[in-house]
Structure formats: C-alpha cells, structure tokens
Symmetry: C2
Subunit: 331 residues, 2 copies
C-alpha cells in the first residue's frame, strides 16, 4: 500500500515535471517549413518507445560543426580575429616582427599579404599566438578576449553572433535525451572556456583541432605546456576520426554547413537505424551572409550535391529561420 | 494554490526517490578502516551544499586507472593475453611467423623470448594484432574475445577479475553526481566495447592509448581503418595530457595503483579546492597478488613515496577490502 502510494506520487511528479516541455513550440525561431518538420519527425521517431526506430538515450549522440553552423564565420573565421588581436598584443615583446613576415603584414592590418606565405605562414602565426604558455594561461587569454572583443561589422560580442534557431535546436535535442557535441576545425582550447555558457555544451563535449601539450613540474607544480607542434586537424576526414577517438560511438545526427563537414555527415548517416544529417545553407545576404560553392570560407559545394542526392536536410536560412541572432528576439 | 500543490508533490517525490540511496552502506566490501573513511569524508565535503568545499556536479570528475586499479594485472596485463590469442588465431594467415621473431617465440608460448626484441618487438606484435582492420571489425574481435577468454590462474572470464570494492566506489561516486572516467595505458578500443557493461562507464568516458585511424570510402561506404602507427601512449606524463585533451577539466579525484599513475595524481591534486588521490597497494598474495617496488608490471615505487609524503590515501588490499572479486559475494 505504501509502495503503491509512492509509485503514484512518482508518476504524478514525473507527469507534472514533464508537462512544460511539451507546452510550447520548442523551435520558435524556425518557420514551419520542411526543415523544421524533418527535425521534429526525426526526434519523435528515435525517442518514442513504441517506435521501430527507438534509440536508447545513451546512444543519442548529436555532433555540431561550429563555424558557420552554430555561429557566423564571415568575413573570416572568428578565431582569426583572436589571432590578429594576439599578434598586436604580443608585438611589443617581439620587436623583430616589424620586419619579419608574416607578422609585419599582419601588424599593418594586411591579412591577405600575411597569408601569401601559405600554410607555412599560417602555421607560424598560429604557433606564435597559441603555443609557449600553459593551458591555464591560454584559457585565461581566451576568456578575456571573448568577453571584450567585438565583431567588425556588427560591433557585437562574438558570443552574440550565434544562431538563435541553432541554440533552440541544441536545447530541444538535449530535452529529448541527446548528448550534444561540438566537432569543429577550430581550436579545442579556443572553444572550451566559453561553450558551456554560450551553447550549454561542457568542455568534455567539445572536439576540435589541437596542438601538442607537455606535462612538466615547475617548482614542483604540475603544468601542461602548449607546444608549437600540430597534434590534430579536426576537419574533413579528420572529423570522423576525432569523433571515434573522443566519443567512441557513431552519432545518430550531425549538423554542418560546409564541405569540411561532409565526412562527418557521411559517417553519421552510414550507421544502421534512423539517422539525420543537416546542412545550414547561408542564403541570406541581408540578415547574415550569402555564400556557398565559390566561398573560400565555409565552402559548400560537394556536400550540397551529396545532400541533394541523399536527401539530407538543407536549411535555407532566408526562408527557414524567422530570426538569425539572439539580438532579434523581442525584449 | 495549484502551483503550491505541484511543488509539494515534487518535494515529496524527490524525497521518496532519494531515500534508498542513503539507506544502506554504499561501500559494503570495504572494511571500516582509514581508507573508507577518507573516501566518504571527501565525498561529503564536496557534495554538501553548505560545505566550504562544495563542488558543483559538472565539475565532479573522477579518473580511474584500469590495470591493477579496477581489474587485476597479473601475471601480465590482460590485453597481452588478448594479443597472444590473436597471434595464434592469425598464425594460419601468416606462415612466415613460424620462422620470424617475435612471432616464432610467441607461437611456442615463449613470451619472454619474444620480448627480448624490446620495444620494437612489442610494437611489431601490437601492430600485427591491432592494425589493418576497420574499427568495427576490431571492436567485434574484442567483444568475441572478452566473452570467451579465461584467466590462466583463476579460469574465470577477465571481466570477473574486477575488484568488487572498486565497482562499489564507482557506483557510490556516480550516485553522488560524479562523472567517472577510465584513464588507462591500455588500448582505448580494447576497453570501450565492454566497459559500459562491466563498470558502468560509457565509451565516451574511456581514455587510453591509441593507434592512428584513417577515414576511407570503401565502395561508397565510410570506414575507419586502423593504421600500424602509434597515436598516443596514455601512461605517466601522458595521462594529464590525455585528460586535458579528452575532458578539458581537471579531475577532483584520481585513483591509480602504480608509478604510471603518479602524474595523473599530481595533476589532480594540484588543483584548488578539495582534492582526493588514492593508490591501490597490492598487498594480498593469498587472495590476489602482492607486489610493489620491484615488480615489472604495475611497479609502485615513486608514487608510494609521494603518497606517503603528501598524505594520499593508500589502500592496503589485505586489510581494507573485505572481499576482492565479485565471485566472493554471497550468492
């Protein structure tokens, strides 16, 4: 009798706790177009216990590219603005940079000139700004920068250049038992200091490119020192490799916006059972940016063809999203 | 009024749901010695909201070595028994092994002879048995092996050679909001196929040594192929590096048994706030094995000195553990 009463209370409690989740539209910034319908249909298919495609919560892994998928990436990847600011901040300690490429060009504001040195120049810039300090020092530098830096066009903090519809999608998936991951070509340590606050994604669910680190005892205190040596590039073929290394499970849903995400979407959809793949197509020059096959940043070409032939969901930003950025939300 | 009633139901429900967790001793296979008291005191310190040392659940990260900490490691690391069985299974496809070291010695059962070739021989054996197949094929091989192989001394499956007190500790920590990780020198893909079932630790919380993998399309189907090239050795200085790479947070508690875990314990305890470090000292030749400073497997020497000077908890298996293996539990 006592047990029955307890059981009844628990059922009541679960029922009353769950109600709010179903009361409102979980994706209010999405228009009621095919993309939204496809997302909701997929989530219902894999979460209804009576569904043939039911997936237990532990296997509900969803992976998201970041640049161009969760936040904007124009006029260039935001991490590159961080790099530029770091070069300027570090210049007084490096008087030789005034004469030395690629730094001399960067300090004059000539990014294009700096990058004529190709991959080697890029690597030199990354290492000069990302290596040589401890992991804790670097995290603090990132935190300070992300709290103060502003996007050159909108003058808003970069953390407000995130896509409101994608924030809602992350929340919706987590409310349905999904574990959401970032799988980005960006630096893993550049993202982790702030992704939990901005996306609700904790450090252990952030995967990215990395440089090597080395354990050292400094005056008896252990530190991890960031070395000027690439560890892993988390792009294209690297994304499934990194997913396997970090997660050890194949995602059932993957979200990207460029050819750099193609292999992640292929890997995700090749698993058995229900699978979902989505590409954000930047089609809105007025509210955001419009670019695809010809863009050097976030090029979407092969993946767009494959999405069409395989029936992946392609978000048309202009027609599928009511608003783009959180700043457009009614106050 | 309705809201008040709902709130009351929720409180009642939470209270009734939480009661069982506190009803019984969560560590019944531990004697009431200093080790058990230290564990419980630490968990209470970091979980009581009124405590000065309270740690929010998201930061309750606990990392566990595997070999010698969660399961036995004598007379040699269990993964090496897997390797031996694989060499035997693959021998018919490699007639040249009959004449070729280190395989010739292994096939005669002469492990010591095979390893006179040192690190190079070891690497050759690992690559011959761990590389050249897809990740899915390898996972299946591991699953088949772990389901059928038996320990040479006890004749029990390796998954029953786990320490009952440590299983209870894992459960106790998780019941108190901890996220439990394995951080092992063993192969990451050798552990993941079965750690969830045996330890309740899902693949994404397993960190280990790894070889490189490569993404490939085979007849249009994406696969990850395991390459004969070391990616990362998750031992000694490698453990804090891997923890940072995979988790991106410093653990607040770490558990090991050998000098291979020393840096993980140093890294863990060097953080601010309450920290906990524990070493399992193998002192029970009768019920398990007794070894420490002179052992080639699981050598515990420097870490034992440091535990003593720093006041880390050292489990004396013989006196601290009522039983060692789950098979000793009353039926």
């Amino acid at each position: 009798m006592k047990l029955a009463k307890q059981f009844f209370l628990v059922v009541l409690c679960i029922a009353s706790l769950s109600l709010p989740a179903f009361a409102a539209d979980p994706l209010p910034s999405w228009n009621d177009t095919a993309s939204k319908k496809a997302i909701v249909a997929f989530v219902e298919r894999v979460t209804k216990e009576s569904s043939l495609d039911f997936v237990p919560p532990v296997e509900r892994i969803a992976t998201f590219d970041q640049d161009g998928t969760l936040w904007a990436e124009q006029p260039m990847y935001f991490q590159f603005f961080f790099i530029l600011d770091r070069v300027k901040a570090l210049a007084p300690q490096h008087p030789e940079w005034k004469e030395k490429e690629p730094f001399a060009s960067l300090l004059k504001g000539d990014v294009k000139g700096a990058l004529t040195g190709g991959e080697r120049a890029m690597l030199e810039i990354v290492m000069a700004t990302h290596a040589g300090m401890t992991t804790e020092e670097f995290a603090q530098t990132v935190k300070d920068w992300i709290a103060t830096a502003r996007h050159p066009k909108t003058k808003r903090p970069y953390t407000e250049m995130v896509y409101q519809p994608m924030l809602e999608l992350l929340t919706y998936l987590r409310a349905n038992g999904f574990k959401t991951y970032i799988v980005s070509g960006g630096g893993i340590e550049f993202m982790r200091p702030w992704t939990e606050k901005v996306y609700g994604i904790p450090p252990e669910q952030v995967i990215g490119s990395s440089i090597k680190t080395k354990f050292e005892l400094r005056d008896g205190k252990p530190v991890l020192v960031r070395l000027p040596e690439i560890n892993f590039i988390d792009d294209k073929e690297g994304k499934p490799v990194a997913i396997n290394q970090h997660i050890g499970r194949r995602p059932i849903a993957a979200f990207g916006n460029s050819d750099g995400d193609l292999q992640m979407l292929q890997w995700t959809t090749a698993g058995s059972g229900a699978r979902f793949a989505l590409l954000v197509h930047h089609t809105d020059a007025e509210r955001e940016w419009a670019y695809d096959r010809a863009s050097s940043i976030g090029r979407l070409d092969k993946a767009l063809d494959e999405a069409q032939s395989k029936g992946w969901t392609v978000v048309d930003m202009k027609t599928d999203w009511k608003i783009i950025f959180p700043s457009e939300l009614p106050k």
